[in-house]
Amino acid sequence: MEQSRIRNFSIIAHIDHGKSTLADRILEATEAIDEREMRSQVLDSMDLERERGITIKAQAVRVLYTARDGQTYQLNLIDTPGHVDFSYEVSRSLAACEGALLVVDASQGIQAQTLANTYLAVESDLEIVPVLNKIDLPAADPDLHARAVAELIGDDPERVLRISAKTGLGIEEVLEAIVERVPPPAGDPAAPPRALIFDSVYDQYRGVVAFVRVVDGAFRRGDRMVAMQTGRSVTAEEIGVMTPAMTPTGSLAAGESGYIITGLKDIGDLRVGDTLTLAASPAPEPLPGYREVKPMVFCGLFPVDSDDYPELRDALEKLSLNDASLQWEPETSQALGFGFRCGFLGLLHMDIVRERLEREYGLELLATTPNVEYRVTTKTGQVVTVRSPVELPNPSAIERVEEPYVRCTVLVPQDGVGAVMGLCQERRGTFVTMEPIEQRQQIVYDLPLAEIVLDFYDQLKSRTSGYASLDYELVGYRESPLVKLDILLAGDPVDALSLIVHRDHAYQRGKVLVERLRETIPRQLFEVPIQAAIGGKVIARETVKARRKDVLAKCYGGDITRKRKLLERQKEGKKRMKQVGRVEVPQEAFLAVLEIGDAAGVRR
């Protein structure tokens, strides 16, 4: 199709503001899929995404739309994830587009992450098409939010579309606006071919599948291609588009988005952000890439049953095929045995990976407390990277410790300002700015990332009755007086429960942690002291009293089988626990310091 009739666009929206529903309606309205076969929210292909109502992997879908001008247009919808953990995924999707639908809930208004993604889109020179969704809801205030959205992107409130993706109201206007307002792609069809890889997945039958946006020239099936960053050459075994099923087309021309099947075995050979060109007529310059994805949060993952270690390794290998941002390396814990220290983009990413390992690979896992990556300068001038509390050198050998800081942007109604600032202060935050946006205040703080990965998001939500929204980005490392907090069970230090904490918070954190552990660890056949210590000095102590009695029930002829089953059930309860020294510790204990789900902000 000629370039003038191609539109590439993505949808920017906060979780629950209706992005997936709108995508469904667009697919329906353009008859891309048979309604009878349609599962709701087809773009979210993984079960987990479906369950959580979020989208993790960017995907591209092509539909054909005959506009009111009588012309047929090719619309390429490039999906973006909606959670802050995945903001890098958003930037890669946006780079493949000329326009973006900014979808805002007509009753809730703009949220912090939407704001951040909108800025990303504006920076990438994308045409923004503002859309107010859910105008059919009683709480909707379209006039107010239309003015606010227009002000944000410097547009006319009249041009803000008002729709209900749920009922289908206004969908045609959205499609017309895409055709009218989003510019066609501007690449040169005659230039040496260049395509941006905006995503890649590994398929066990077809090898690595690259999702690309062709900028210049064209690619055809059988072409010999080169990935310009890695230098890896590869043949295009099949080329096609998602409609949303994979549909071979034999070629992709300038301006189009689609997939290329390569048969490669290693997803690292076709890195997201790399540029594909032709081996025969290579382009002189690659396209601008993406910023490199770096894990921000680390935790140890250990199999509950140590015999499952090889299975865990295999599962991590397989997951990494499709998730270049997941890092892992072997780790040995005195308490938990062999496992892996894994790096994640954020807590949600960590939670999803852990859940996939358990669900898709049938593994039972123990996750240790997540921590960030510290930078330690020793007295000898060496700089050491510390990703686990056990790696922290002896205090006497440390010159200084630095920790990552993030710039946090919180949007909150005026009456929540005090609560937000109070929370940020408690969490060692430094105030940066505050300014009004819409009817709300945008508060910016610099905070240690370590304070965010605990229960910050949860606290933020609860202290503002759910009205605050959060976005953050890494701003660099800063020196902090950090110490290692050790936990001892029955007198033995448990490496997997150690934490790195700010010196001023160590006492409080230690006290809370031993209290939670006392609540979590069931009574054993002997008394179990739980201690928190810094450098050998005990700062908090609790005791799990010895169990004194089981249920003393009767057992006659008719009870024997049932009694055996009760013992079996008790046994299974024991098996779910980890033997740490002499103490049986339930899995929850290793997460006693935080509620991962709440912190990630997606559950409940």
Binding site: L525, F526, R547, R548, K549, D550, V551, L552, A553, K554, C555, Y556, G557, G558, I560, T561, K563, R564, K565, L566, L567, E568, Q570, K571, K574
Partner: protein, 365 residues
Amino acid sequence: MSVRHLYVHLPFCVSRCGYCAFVVAVGALDRRDAYLEALLAELELERSRLGPLETVYLGGGTPTLMRARRIVALLERLRPLLADGAEITVEANPETVDPDLLRALYRAGVTRMSFGAQSFRPRLLSALDRVATPDQIRRAVLYARGLGFASVSVDMLLAIPGQTVEDLAADLEEVVALEPDHVSWYELELKPGSALAARGDLALDADFAEEAYARVVEGLEAAGYRWYEIANFAWPGHECRHSLAYWTARDYLGLGVGAVSTIDGVRRRNAAGLARYIEALGRGEAPPRTYEPLDEDTRRRERWMLGTRLDRPLDLAWAGPPDRPEAIDRLAELGLVTAGAGTVALTRRGRFLQSSVLNELMEAW
């Protein structure tokens, strides 16, 4: 090998108590004659398995609702099967017995009466949906003793919803004053299927629950009872021989609806459902049953599970080894077991923690 221990299930009840998950038949008193016929028919089917019976136990349900006439008829049919000095127990709800009935049972050869008291506190009795008044319980026990039954036992319950330290002390005092030969004192279990389990309001103060059973043991021992099994106490010579057969893993035959038998390594359970039971035996067929074969590992583990309930040391030559013999030393260090020559015994503290100790010793069940 012939079976020497017989259990007969008499399922009729006037109402179902809130803690009960037994197979009982409520509001079916008109089926009592038909049921007796069916029982006798099942007895005939199983007769060839039986040797001289050392113990017979008539349990329920409320066996005394069968009235003296039917129980006596049943015992008449069993008489030729009995060994010399056989122990014959009948369970009874105190409110269902009167002097005539007890006298009839005594004359028919019943040696042991077991009364379901559960508590002497009216408030707790009503929490359990028990009908008997404390006075009826006292009278039943005293009259049975007066008639000359060889043993009289009462069943008591611990961890009744609402039970306080004072309630327990009062119940102990009542029991000791009544001087039964034998006391069963169970902790109330929330079995799925009972009304109390469905109500879910059993929150007993945790510290009290831990203390309480120790008080029961202390109180009864001070009065001369031997804590001969985890939940049973007896004056010397008054241990329940029928129950001891279960705890020493002997074979036993269970007759009646819902009754369980264990014979030659197979456990079988007659199905619940009074009508189906009566119908099947009316056709001269065995009632519907489920079968559970017990492999050698299961039988060995059951010997441990049952044998360690008793206060005598477990004979390893009889029971076989535990799955993890190495755990014995650690349990001994914790003061939970003592190892003798070829024996293992639970300490007093170990008896309170029998389930936990067993799960340290065994890999599976």
